[in-house]
Every structure is written in C-alpha cells, then in structure tokens.
Amino acid sequence: MSSQESQLPKLPPELQDTVHLSVLDQVYNWSRKRSLWPMFFGLACCAIEMIASFDPRFDLARFGMEIMRASPRQADLMIVSGTVTKRMAPQLVRLYNQMAEPKYVIAMGACAISGGPFKEAYNVVSGVDKLVPVDVYVPGCPPRPEGLFNAVFALHKRMDQERIKDLRWYQKGECQGIPVPALGPDLVDYLLTDEDIATDYRPPRLHKTVVAEQEEA
C-alpha cells in the first residue's frame, strides 16, 4: 500500500485541501469494503451470535453491513455461521454459486471451520472449506460478536491488498461454479471423482518437521 502511495506525485500546497490523489485500487477496495452486504446464512448457534452482532449493543451497521440480504444475488459476503451438515451442503454450494462476484466467505465458529465439537457426527461436513473457498476463519464456540467484528476487519485488510488487475472476476474466461454435491448413500461430492483431486488431497500436517526428525533418528 505504501509503495503504491509513494508513486503518487506530490501536490502543491494550495491544492492539498481540495484535491485527494489516490490509486484506483485503493478507492475501489475502500468503497467495496465499506458496503459489504452479508447474506442471511445462519445455520445454528453461531447464527444467534451473528444476529446479536446486529442488535443495538454491537451494531454491525456501523461498518456499512446493515442490509442483510436474503437473496444471494444481492449479497457480497456469506458468513457461514453454524454447523454445515451433509443435508445442507448442496444448498450451500448452490447459494455460493448464485452469489455474484465479488464474493467472500467467513467461516464463523468451530463448526464451520472444522465441524467443531460435532466433527465425528455422521451428518456433519468437517469444515465448510471442503465445499467452498474460505477467506477468514473465526474460531470460538460461539465467537463473541466482537470476535466476528475482528474477522470482518481481517477481511477488510485482505480486501485492501487486492489489486484490480489480479482480481479473479475480471479475468478472461467463464466462471466455473463449484459442482453441487448430491445426497446418496453418503454425501456424493463430485470434486472427488476427479482423480487428481481425490488422491492429492491431504491437509498439511503441522508438526511435519518434528515427525520427520523422529523418523530420521
């Protein structure tokens, strides 16, 4: 950001009060981040904390996020709050596909990040990032409304670093939606039928250096 700012020419003193120079990226990002409209996507307990963050005490409307749009076409941000079950997974992916770009996803709460305390349940998807790409994760069960604000600010920071020429929705080509899973003997996820994805998918192990050292020893 500062390197971009340093490329701006210096203004003569008589114009400094009336003219503001900014890089187009900054203006673009600022106007988008100050009017990020969330979609109603409350699933479970975290939805109550999300609704509480709209109540008079915390008031997410101060940051331009007042309008909660029920229709995905009009929303920018999907706050996945609550456990994602396999039954709900097709609808979630369908709604994500229907959202217009630019779109962001915040995974709010332990259940949305990894299945949470219900991870071992047979009807729970262990994390919404198995279905859609996630931008910010907020742990907590449920996270306080201020924790959600913190996540929204983290998302703002991430949005500030976006540059127009790199944005995915301005690239050439058609936008590929995510294939919607179906309900079969278990959740049928079409991403797994592609051989590359199926066999290459492994989450990175955190302590791989420790394990590698022990294996060498």
């Binding site: 609704i51 071992e120 009807n123 262990s126 306080r144």
Partner: protein, 593 residues
Amino acid sequence: MADERQLSELTADALGALEEQFPGVAQPAERIGLVIEPHQLVDVATFLRDELDFAYLSCVTALDYPEATDNFPARYEAAYNLYRSEGGPLVLHVHADRDDPVIPSLIEIWPSAGVQEREAWDLMGIRFDGHPDLRRILLWEGFEGHPLRKDWHEPYYEEDQKPFRSRFPDGEPVLDEEDTTFGRNLRYPHDWVEDGVLEIPEGWESEAESAVYKPLELVAAAVKEELGTEQVVLNIGPQHPSTHGVLRMVACLDGETVLGLEPVLGYLHRSHEKIGERNLWLGNMPFTDRLDYITSMYNNFGYAVAVEKLMDVDVPERAEYIRVIMGELTRLMNHLVSVGFLCNDLGIYFTAMLYALEEREFVIDLFEMASGSRMMCNYFRFGGVAHDLPDAFMPMARELVFERFPRRIDELETYLLDNEVFQGRTKRIGVLPPEAAVAYGCTGPLLRGSGVPYDVRRAEPYSVYDEFDWDVVVGNNGDVFDRVLVRFGEMRESLRILRQALDRLPEGPIQGGRVRPNTRVPEGEAYGRVEHPKGELGFYLVSDGGTNPFRYHIRTASFVNLGVLGELCRGNKIADVVAILGSIDITLGEVDR
C-alpha cells in the same frame, strides 16, 4: 422429589385396572415399566387411552441391545412414556426381533407418535407397521444404514467411548481428515470406490428430493380433478429470512391457499444422541447447551434433573434456588426473543426484534457473570451448579427484575397487542383445538394457548418450584394471538417467581457431594423432564453402570410440536404460514438435534 410417591400411587391404580382387563399381558421390564407383546400393543394402548385417560404420549425411544441382558435376549426395543392429566409416567416397552424389527404403530391412537416413530425408523431401523408415511425424517432417502445402532460406525470413528487413547499419554495430533480415504467425513459402498477415487455407478440418481415431494403429490393429485387450476408446489427454505434456522417447508398451494404442508427436517442433524453415547456423563453437559441454543441454561437443567434421577445425590437448597433463578431468566429471555422473532417474520422488520434483543443482552450479561459464557453456559452439574454467584450478580439482577423488565414488558405489550394490524394478522389464525393439541403431544405455550392447563412444573414438580407462588397461564381460543398472550403472561409469572427467589435466596453450599468428571452413574433407566420455555424437554437415559451413557435420547418440544404444523396450516393463506410457525416457536437445534 415431593410428589413422586403420589405419582406412583396414581400409576399403581392404573396398573391394577390394566391387569384386570388384560390378565398376564404386562410383564415387568428390565428396569422400569412394563413389557407388552407386539401383537397386543394396540389393544392395550387403546384401553389405556380410552378407559384410563392416558391421553398424552410424551416420548417414543428406540433402544438397541446387541447382547442379552439379565432377563431378556438381544433385541431392539421401543419405549413409550405415557401420561395423563394427573399421574404417570407409565412406561411401556415392546421388544422386536434383531433380524427384522417390526412393531405396530401407535399413530392412530396417539398422533404424537407420528414424527417420533419416523425418527426411530430413520435412526434405529425399527419398522412401524401401520404408519401411513414411514420415511426417513432426519436423514435422507438413500442414506445407507441406521446410524444409532451399536454396530454402525461413523466415518471418523475412533473408539466406542471417550476418552480416546490417542490423546494421552502418547498424543500426536492426527486430525481426523488425515485418517480417511478422501480426507473427509465420507464413506461410500465398496463398489463406489476404486483406488481412492470415487466412481459413481452409471445412471445413479439421488432419490432424496423426490421422496420429499411424494406426500404432496398425492394432495395435489386429489384436488386437480375438480377445476383444473394450477397447483404449485413451493419450497420455503432452508435458507430464508426467517430467523428460526434451517427449516424447509414444502407447501402445495392453490393460488394463495395452502392445501398441504410438510416440514422437511434434518438440515441441522448433528447426532447429539450418537455423540452422547461416546461422551462421558459430564461431557454431555456442554453438548446440551447446543440443543436449543437460545436457552442453554434450561437444557442443562433438564439434563441435570434426568441424571440426578439415576444418581443418588442431594442438591443443596442454595443450588436449587440458583437453578430456578437461571431457569426463569431463561424463560423470560426465550419468550422475549420468541415474540421478537415472530414480529420479524410478520414484517415488523427488526424493530420489535431489536427491542427484544436489547433486553436479551442484559440477561446474557447475567449469565456471563455467573457461568462464563453468553450463550453456552455449561453451568449446571450433577448435584448443584458449577460456580457460585459473583458479588455483582445480585444488584444487577434485582435492578433488572424489579425495575427494568416490568417496564419493558409493559412497553412491548402496548407496542404490539393493541395494534390493529398485528391483531388482524394473528387473531383466528392457526386455531388448534385442545383435544388435538394433547393428541399430537404438543406442550408449552402451544398447548396452554389452546386452553389445556398442563405444565410440567405442576404435573411432575422438580427442583423447588412448588415453594413459590405462581400461576399457570392459559389462553382461550388457541390461535396465534392467544399464544402470544400466553407468552406475555408467562413472562410476568417468571418475574413473579424471580422476585420471590431473589428475595429468599439462602446461603449455603452450591454442590452436594463431590462429582468427578469420570464419575460412574449407577445402572438404571430414567426419563427426566422439565418445563422448557418451548414445551417439555425430556431426557430418556439408560445407564449400564459405566462412565458413559448406554442410551441417550432427547425428547424435545420443538420436534414434537412440529408434527402439528401441517394440520394447522391447511386452509390458511401462505402468508399465515410464517405467523403460525413463529407462534409454535421452534429452534432448529432442538428439532434436528
């Protein structure tokens, strides 16, 4: 508790009459209640309902005994808890074969068995002969297996019971994702997987959606012949602006009139019952917070009351008073939120809801002070409560209960109840006759709004509710407006109880006896129920003397109350469906568990 002996005397009369009518039919069951043979079940049930007035079937539990117990062979079992206006429970057990479990359905006698038998079929695999619509309710058609069976293991299965040995003393954090084929919580039939790649068979199609629409197609077909007008099948949800959660309703409409409506559940089914069998007894307490996530204190209360029926531990008086204070604050908060969300659904976009949420913030401030968390309180323990009240609690509670809340409830009443638009949208909508309410197993403000004065705090008193002076609030007509009135009345009664409790709070210990985390609960079977703000919350617990439950079944008010939604909505306009749903007051965490 105070009236247990009196209750059992009333039930003993009933047992005597039963023995006279059907000699030798009822045998004593393994632990509590009677065993009835399947082929005599319907006759016995009809006699119990008609002659002995057991009009209320509270809970249908499916049990799985893979090994023979002391008196009976390995079996599947269904347990029925019956109540009447004074007395109960009468627990009936019916055994079914291990290979092909079939039990006659009791839906003709008690319609409240409708949704509960569907759940028993879905999760345990017991078929109910005579049920008109035995489909899966929480999972989808096409799901493989019946998950609550003891031999069914989930894809991330590690061990039968917690604590897992992989955590200590040699704990290496291996995430569940790393141990399964696809890195996900998925398991497919053998012929679907080849070399770690999913191979879907040719021509396979998901049957989940078509199964959902089947009952409505019959409704639509019946009407089509008359006039040739278009019937529309409309999906409401699971993502919709109403704040109740992920509930889906499929409605068959003729213009704007609802011909038939089916709630489709299971979008939040998180298998509390299967996880409950793996957890320690105390470890289930934070999970009960997540059942009805708005009223976590009362879920804890219900679980504590149920387990204390199995354990032999006395709750000190201060702890009982604190429990009642927390419980009634929860009831107040729940009714405020319920009225607020109903107004939100009716179209008073956000104003009434925000007024209600502002008051809720004060109540959860109190909870945060006492227990440590705004919503997931985890405050109750077996034999008392976890922590004592901090010093700052009483002044704030007194100011709220004596000053702020009465003012705010008066203001909300002025705001809503005289409003002609509100009255026009809620009066004479969704009328539930009292006999139907009892037959469908409805409880809570839904039942009392129809004129039936049944409250578990009076019918089967628990804790110290019988030491306070309070009334049961009853409505007249059974429409949406009356249920709102009942909720306002119950808010005032809660304030009345709170005023008495705060004034009379005794000193003393807050926990009776030392209960360790891996405590063993004595062998037994019990059904503990409480008057949850939404209705009757019951826990059917079976213990085999170990550190983990053998069977953990939760009977929630919202799940059974939803069984009546289709009946109530028939004939009303589509705009009234939202009002009726709001007045039933459900929370999806409780419905789907």
